[in-house]
Amino acid sequence: MTTTTYREAMRRALREALAGDERVFLMGEDVGAYGGCYAVSLGLLEEFGPDRVRDTPLSESAFVGAGIGAALAGMRPVVEIMTVNFSLLALDQIVNNAAALRYMSGGQFHVPLVIRMTTGAGRQLASQHSHSLEGWYAHVPGLRILAPATIGDAYGMLAPALDDPDPVLIFEHGALYGMKGDLPDDPDPVDLTSAAVRRTGDDLTIVTYGGTLGTALDAAERLAGEGIGAEVIDLRSLRPLDMPAVLASVGRTHRAVVVDEGWRSGSLSAEVSARITEDAFYDLDAPVARVCSAEVPMPYAKHLEDAVLPGADDVVTAARSLGA
């Protein structure tokens, strides 16, 4: 067991992937000489050299597309995009190419590509650096969407993502990089298809992922103080969704709150809520509640950003409103 951070856990996974498979290489803006804009890849250039830890110019569309091409031709690229807002410059490559190539080639080609990027708010970075757009990507067939919320997942999701024959997007919440915790020396492999129960409870199910797992756990702790037992489910995979895990929990608790830092309209939270309603309607004792970000581009001022983001207070209020 070692005490580590989310950032270091991710770095360890990258190091092991680079060391373990010659086809793996890391590519992105400032991943090499700079050490990664969030210092995830610090030291890897020195260890693996510039061919395997490749700095790119500011050309998101081209280097993501190049990752697709390299994956088609037998490599196992890990492409880093600094922030999800910048990934929009590569949206064409991700959605029109990576996600569709297997299908539109009639199964002849496939894209074993991993794309990592930062997501989320909380650091006063305002309207062009703070959004949670992973729900958009989860809309797209052909992609696997992961959101590691713990140190174990920050470490453990990369290897199975690289083993996946199809494109995988990993969303790392920017507020998590400094999170400290323990990582076993030989951690169990992560099953990318399953959600995780992070806290058990009988009265209510809180469904969340990524940066709001901590918010949900805080809320659950406070609810426990009021005698309400909240079960917290970390989705981990946003596409495909592990709905059996969610439905099993809701089947016992009969109430659900979905917590998502994305906007509410047309969102991942809408999808989860709809599926619960479709498949567990008669298990529910109350309508599914959602706690999401206010539908505004993110403001800079701290008090406004705090107000816009889902907080533990909001989750507690929503939980109480269900009569749990």
Binding site: E29, D30, A33, Y34, G35, C37, D55, P57, L58, S59, E60, S61, A62, N85, F86, L88, L89, R123, Q124, L125, A126, S127, Q128, H129, W263, R264, S265, V291, C292, S293, A294, E295, V296, P297, P299, Y300, A301, K302, H303, L304, A307, V308, L309, P310, G311, D314
Partner: protein
């Protein structure tokens, strides 16, 4: 701010000096405020590059437009936003130029036709093309000055915008502030053709490179370029400059040699202009001390203004998403 500067009275060069000093001292204070956590988020400093913003905006007419990046305090101040309103923005106050919603990276001001700080690299260029297109369609003899960094030249939006502006003969002045680095990536590691003026010329956009540490050279080149743009068609200026500070307050600056930074500091645009003025007898110690004192007072006043500023009520956070509120704008 103009006029009355020094022995030579209305010497325009003293105005340029004052403008550069205003930016320098303002930003030095923002560093202190950042350490004191009054300013948060990303803060990108212009220190070392002041001659670019001052020289180019000096060549613009009041109804020309400016499009800038996230490194735009200097451009905003030189263009005429008040120091008070910019400082208030950095402190997240409603008295700020963008009501505290934008912060350092997103300064906007309709009064000076400052169409903003854009923080997606390259994102401002297509907008500048559109501003110029509107002017052309309306027969208005206005110029849009679009600032961006060397890093933006790698983005598709640079190439698409250059092509459109040239193809449609639009009045855009493209101003590339080439400070040799895009975050930690040196220009030579990012560009197949590191001579950016050569690259721009491939779009049949008249292009030239200028010493971005010499405000007089920048202003002269910009004046010529703006006149040419106003007569018709885009131009491209590459301003060769250098940032003395890290990319942002988060940047440990591991990728540059200290000796390189020191060598560029020898070419600091502010002492360089002071030396020219002193040699010409246009500046003496008393005058410089007076300008410095006035600038310091302006910075103090701006900080006091920002600190006395107010926070936008949380209940208003949903305003200005669209003209009329949308149903789902509520708080969580």
């Amino acid at each position: 701010m103009t006029g009355g500067d020094g022995p030579a009275g209305g010497d325009h060069r003293l105005h340029l000096l004052r403008q550069m000093l205003r930016i320098r001292r303002f930003e030095e204070r923002t560093v202190e405020l950042y350490s004191a956590t009054a300013i948060r988020g990303f803060l990108h400093l212009d220190i070392g590059e002041e001659a670019c913003a001052v020289g180019v905006t000096g060549a613009l007419a009041p109804d020309d437009a400016v499009v800038a990046t996230y490194r735009e305090h200097g451009h905003a101040l030189a263009r005429g936003m008040t120091m008070r309103a910019v400082m208030a923005e950095l402190e997240g106050k409603v008295e700020g130029v963008s009501r505290g919603r934008g912060g350092s990276m997103h300064l906007f001001d309709a009064a000076t036709r400052f169409y903003g700080g854009y923080a997606i690299v390259g994102g401002g260029l297509p907008v500048a093309v559109g501003l110029a297109l509107a002017d052309k369609l309306q027969g208005l003899p206005r110029v849009t000055a679009c600032f961006f960094g060397d890093g933006a030249v790698a983005e598709g939006e640079f190439h698409e915008s250059m092509n459109l502006a040239a193809l449609w003969d639009l009045p855009v002045l493209f101003v590339c502030e080439n400070n040799l680095y895009a975050m930690g990536t040196a220009l030579a590691r990012a560009q197949s053709e590191p001579d950016l003026a050569v690259k721009a010329a491939a779009y049949r956009v008249p292009s030239w490179a200028v010493d971005g540490m010499d405000v007089l050279a920048v202003e002269e080149a910009a004046t010529r370029a703006v006149e040419a743009v106003r007569r018709g068609g885009p131009h491209f200026l590459e301003l060769r400059t250098y940032r003395f500070r890290a990319h942002s307050m988060y940047d440990p600056d591991r990728y540059r040699e200290k000796s390189e930074i020191e060598a560029w500091k020898e070419r600091d645009p502010i002492p360089a202009l002071e030396a020219v003025l002193v040699a010409d007898g246009a500046l003496d110690d008393d005058t410089l001390a007076r300008i410095e004192a006035e600038v310091a007072a302006e910075v103090d006043d701006a900080v006091a203004f920002a600190e006395a500023g107010t926070l936008e009520p949380v209940s208003d956070v949903g305003s200005h998403v669209t003209a009329t509120p949308q149903a789902d704008g509520g708080l969580p």
